[in-house]
């Protein structure tokens, strides 16, 4: 069994970090994982995307054309990748920045106003954590407490911002549970 998740958005939205935290939690849970960034000649403000592959056996090809799920943090990402997602997958749409929808009937849309919710808990910078926890709560790919511990550990060197990110994490879970 293998699951692939594509995280996509603007450079600076914390896409690579969200993906890394998910990969880290999955590794802690005993899965095989690979975190594969796009590293083309990107510019600040351009699109950034990254794929996490989680499996119960050693991962063969880490290059994934059709991921199981998509976390789209901005409109160009949704437009570019929505059609690649396998039927039955989850597409998280950051509705704070994306006024449109995927246009697909065979996937599950998870609408998360990640930026607005992040501002409400204290800082727009936590939007990626809200999206991550909402996605994880919806798909149950990894244990939520374990993922939360990984978020905490990631910010260990910046203890000041841990409470903000913990609040953001809980808010993301709430949004997913209510959807």
């Amino acid at each position: 069994m293998q699951t692939e998740i594509k995280f996509a958005g603007f450079g600076g939205q914390g896409i690579l970090l969200s993906a890394k935290l998910l990969a880290y939690a999955a590794m802690k849970q005993g899965f095989f994982v690979a975190w594969v960034p796009s590293y083309g000649p990107e510019m600040r403000g351009g699109t950034a995307y990254c794929t996490v592959v989680i499996g119960d056996k050693r991962i063969g090809s880490p290059i994934i054309k059709n991921p199981s799920h998509l976390v789209a943090m901005n409109r160009p990402s949704l437009e570019k990748f929505a059609n690649d997602v396998k039927p039955g997958g989850v597409i998280l749409i950051n509705s704070s920045l994306i006024p449109t929808r995927s246009g697909r009937e065979d996937i599950i849309e998870l609408i998360v106003p990640a930026n607005d919710s992040a501002i409400a808990v204290g800082s727009v910078k936590a939007a990626n954590i809200i999206a991550l926890s909402a996605f994880a709560a919806k798909t149950k790919i990894v244990d939520l407490e374990l993922l939360k511990d990984c978020v905490k550990a990631e910010f260990a060197a910046k203890a000041k911002i841990i409470p903000l990110n913990m609040k953001a994490f809980d808010e993301g879970v709430n949004i997913a549970n209510k959807s």
Partner: protein, 355 residues
């Protein structure tokens, strides 16, 4: 030690530290710059030296100098940078000093691109620099193997007193995977008193060492080349590494593929198995010495009708595969080298066209 999640480039840097490498000189180039970034921070913590050279040409000779002084030394670069170092690599081979080179390959020729490639196979295995020399070339297929091979590379470089190369590609450098670091290696090259210009103060004998690659006397030069040849023959006997995948079945097609490309082939093989098509894979882990006999044996298995070399190049390793198969099977080739790694679906299409 518990598993950690690391980028290939950073893991290679940490592996070098754990192998006792205290000297790392480099010049930044995508997609391997994170090795330099990582070691610039880590080496001072363990009393080592990181130095950014003014160019890869300079870095090559810094490596030569440190290696000649008996220090454990490494550099990392990507394709165009390795071309610039190739002169020094030839001198290092000629002077018989141990050094570790890492090539995180990108597309070429020229500046090419920055995406993954396997276009430097010829350069690594057939020369690159001038003269009769070989690098011992190790090709990892992921972050864990990159760590193990980097650590072993120092042992091998010292065993053979010559340059060893790790051949990764942009994907292995940039990707994060869980890694576990093996125990640390011993930190002193065991035989360095015999050859290194490490300073008379530290040495037991009074013998004065000279590190050089210039031998104007024809007999002396011939002897130096015979000594190198003896090492390469020994490598062929003792250091060949490879992996077989699905080779215990009655496969009709044998794929030969290495590094990142071999992982895509494994996925394709699993998918074809579900469709009732058996395909075997032989993955060279050493590119020089090339696993000639294992390739021959796998290719000439009775059930095997086709052999194909699949590479992220326009056909380089295929020549070694043909050489190994000795005409007993026809050898086909498939490759792409723009930076987009062929998908498992594409590999399946290529294999089915053979059947």
């Amino acid at each position: 030690m518990a598993k950690v999640l690391m980028k290939g480039n950073e893991a290679i840097g940490e592996a070098a530290i754990r192998a006792g490498c205290k000297n790392y000189f480099a010049y930044p180039i995508t997609p391997q710059s994170e090795v330099a970034e990582y070691l610039a921070k880590r080496l001072p913590e363990v009393g080592g030296v990181f130095l950014q050279g003014e160019s890869e040409v300079a870095v090559g000779y810094m490596i030569f100098g440190a290696a000649g002084a008996g220090e454990r030394v490494m550099t990392t670069s990507s394709s165009p940078g390795i071309s610039l170092m190739s002169e020094a690599i030839s001198y290092i081979a000629g002077a018989q000093v141990p050094a570790v080179f890492v090539n995180i390959m990108r597309g070429g020729p020229g500046l090419g691109g920055i995406l993954p490639s396997q276009g430097d196979y010829f350069q690594a295995t057939k020369g690159g620099g001038h003269g009769d020399y070989h690098l011992l070339v190790l090709a990892p297929d992921g972050v864990q193997e990159a760590v193990e091979m980097t650590m072993n590379a120092f042992t091998l470089a010292e065993k053979y007193r010559g340059p060893v190369m790790i051949m990764g590609d942009g994907l292995i450098g940039q990707m994060m995977e869980p890694v576990e670091f093996p125990d640390t290696l011993k930190t002193e090259p065991s035989n360095k008193d015999d050859w290194a210009t490490s300073g008379m103060d530290h040495r037991k004998s009074d013998k004065r060492n000279l590190v050089k690659s210039l031998f104007l006397d024809p007999t002396e030069l011939n002897n130096n080349n015979l000594a190198l040849k003896a090492k390469y023959d020994q490598m062929k006997r003792e250091e060949v590494l490879y992996e077989g995948y699905n080779t215990d079945t009655d496969y009709t097609v044998l794929i030969v593929s290495y590094g990142t490309m071999s992982r895509v082939c494994k996925t394709a093989i699993d998918m074809m198995k579900e469709q009732g098509i058996e395909v075997g894979l032989l993955r060279p882990k050493t590119l020089f010495p090339f696993p000639e006999k294992p390739v021959f044996d796998a290719a000439t298995k009775e059930s095997c009708k086709h052999v194909i070399s699949i590479e992220m190049s326009m056909g380089q390793m295929v020549e070694d595969v043909e050489r190994s198969v000795k005409g007993r099977r026809e050898v086909d080739f498939y490759g792409e080298c723009g930076g987009d790694i062929p998908t498992p679906e594409k590999i399946i299409q290529v294999i089915k066209a053979l059947l």
